[in-house]
């Protein structure tokens, strides 16, 4: 088991945001979290990344208690957080420069990924010249190059147009299957969740708890035309029922 979250409860100054949160990720699994805005998804990621400590409950990473411990995952936050004083290339290499694995090999790997991310030609520019979508892709590349098996992606494609989004979906699935990554993915898009995931957790409004855990039974590799299959529509209906109940 790559990640296990057990019985997390949390309040911000007496105001509960999380109630008995339980979820798990198997090795090399792709799991999405979907839930109303403000329910506590990013807060859960902060717990997993060790940036905040929950009031109670435990987080296990490969069987080890990592509650409040950092450096076990690659975390892409909701904001792009590119450093204005670093060029795009220096920004995407932030992870290796912190874990002291900054080698020529990883620099070459980074450079070879620039075209795929639609960033080629911008290696030596400062991030101020990038568009919103490009900034997000640079942040995703930075997360990927941090090189931890567990990736936490908080709405990584929120600022992208539909076309780029689909390209990034294909790329992400390819990376995920080739590079042996485990992905926990926050999204507001039901279609995105179904297309990418092995499993989907639907969270309740605040305080967040798991309302529904759904296995996505569609075969891989996923094709865009699966979106009209009866199986797909059934999954979508189930998710919508859970999300928009009451």
């Amino acid at each position: 088991m790559e990640l296990e979250i057990r019985n997390i409860h949390h309040s911000f100054s007496g105001d509960p945001v999380m109630k008995d949160m339980n979820l798990f990720l198997k090795k090399r699994e792709f799991v999405s979290l979907i839930g109303p805005s403000g329910c506590g998804k990013s807060t859960l990621f902060n717990f997993i990344a060790g940036l905040e400590i929950p009031d109670s409950g435990t987080i296990y990473h490969v069987g080890k208690d990592i509650t409040g411990k950092r450096g076990h995952s690659s975390y892409m936050m909701q904001k792009d957080l590119l450093f204005p004083w670093r060029t795009v290339l220096e920004n995407v290499l932030l992870g290796p420069s912190i874990t002291k694995q900054h080698t020529d090999k990883i620099k070459e790997e980074a450079l070879s990924l620039f075209p795929l991310f639609g960033l080629d030609g911008y290696e030596d520019y400062y991030p101020t010249v990038l568009s919103g979508g490009m900034k997000q892709r640079a942040a995703l590349l930075r997360t990927f190059l941090h090189n931890k098996e567990l990736m936490l992606l908080d709405e990584p494609f929120g600022a992208l147009d539909a076309l780029t989004r689909e390209k990034m979906h294909d790329w992400l699935l390819q990376v995920w299957s080739q590079m042996q990554r485990t992905v926990l993915f926050i999204t507001h898009s039901i279609d995105e969740a179904i297309f990418l995931s092995d499993r989907i957790y639907v969270l309740s409004p605040r305080p967040a708890t798991v309302l529904l855990e759904l296995e996505v039974t569609l075969p891989r590799p996923r094709k865009k035309d699966m979106a009209v299959s009866p199986e797909y529509l059934k999954l979508k209906e189930e998710l919508m029922m859970a999300l928009y109940q009451d």
């Binding site: 060790g50 950092r70 904001k79 912190i98 400062y126």
Partner: protein, 256 residues
């Protein structure tokens, strides 16, 4: 290249205004026959400047040395103190308010004290300049270090970064614009405080030259010195801006 052209054009109106000002000044002095010890004409000031060229360099050199050494000393002390205050919240809470309060002490009033302690040499002047430049720098760096983006810090932490890495990769670079704001202020103070500290007691320097010129009613000499002080201050200011552009290329360039 492009920016050069922009600067040249933006300088044209300012230069024209200065020219007109000088012409009006010259004309007024000649028209009303104003005595030269009250207001010398620009042409006379230029003439006096040329005549005293052999005297001036020694004085300029002394004052510039005091200003530069004091400035460097003030910056070094300010950076060290700011970093120490930054690493210890307890020290920051206890000393930062005192630091802010001590800005109200007129440093120039301390100059006689420094002369008593350190004599008439260059040292007390350097110390006055250092004290004057210390405050704007220490305050701006402390503010800068405290104001970095919280989420950038969290990002480095989430990657397993240490506090030192957070300092090096986030807090220090994001404090640089604040540092240079402080440095620009300090640079303009540095020459002025060197000049004034010479008034308290010195044998050479633009401050002394100014006092001597004033006591003999050599108003044209006074104007020459004022001009030189402005030029020196301007030069310090420009050097700070130039270094800022080198240290923070992302502030004015889009590409490294």
């Amino acid at each position: 290249m492009n920016s050069f052209r922009k600067y040249r054009y933006s300088a044209v109106p300012a230069l024209t205004a200065i020219m007109i000002f000088l012409l009006v000044w010259e004309g007024a002095v000649r028209w009303w026959n104003i005595e030269k010890w009250i207001l010398p004409a620009p042409s006379l000031i230029v003439q006096t400047f040329r005549d005293s060229l052999h005297l001036l360099p020694a004085h300029i050199w002394i004052t510039a040395t005091e200003a530069v050494l004091g400035f460097l000393l003030g910056i070094a002390a300010a950076l060290i103190i700011a970093f120490i205050l930054d690493f210890s919240p307890l020290l920051r809470k206890s000393f930062y308010p005192i630091l802010l309060f001590s800005q109200t002490i007129p440093i120039i009033a301390i100059a006689p004290l420094l002369i008593i302690w350190f004599g008439y040499g260059i040292l007390p002047k350097v110390l006055v300049v250092a004290l004057v430049t210390f405050f704007p720098v220490v305050v701006s760096v402390t503010e800068g270090l405290q104001s970095s983006d919280r989420d950038m810090i969290r990002l480095v932490h989430s990657m397993g970064g240490t506090s030192w890495q957070v300092f090096k990769k986030v807090r220090f670079p994001s404090s640089l614009p604040y540092l240079f704001t402080g440095l620009r202020i300090a640079a303009t103070y540095s020459v002025l405080s060197a000049v004034i500290s010479e008034w308290v007691g010195a044998s050479k320097g633009l401050g002394i030259y100014l006092i001597k010129a004033q006591s003999s009613f050599a108003t044209d000499q006074v104007f020459v010195v004022i001009m030189l002080i402005s030029l020196l201050s301007c030069l310090m200011f420009l050097v700070v801006i130039l270094i800022g552009r080198i240290v923070m290329p992302w502030k004015h360039k889009t590409k490294k």
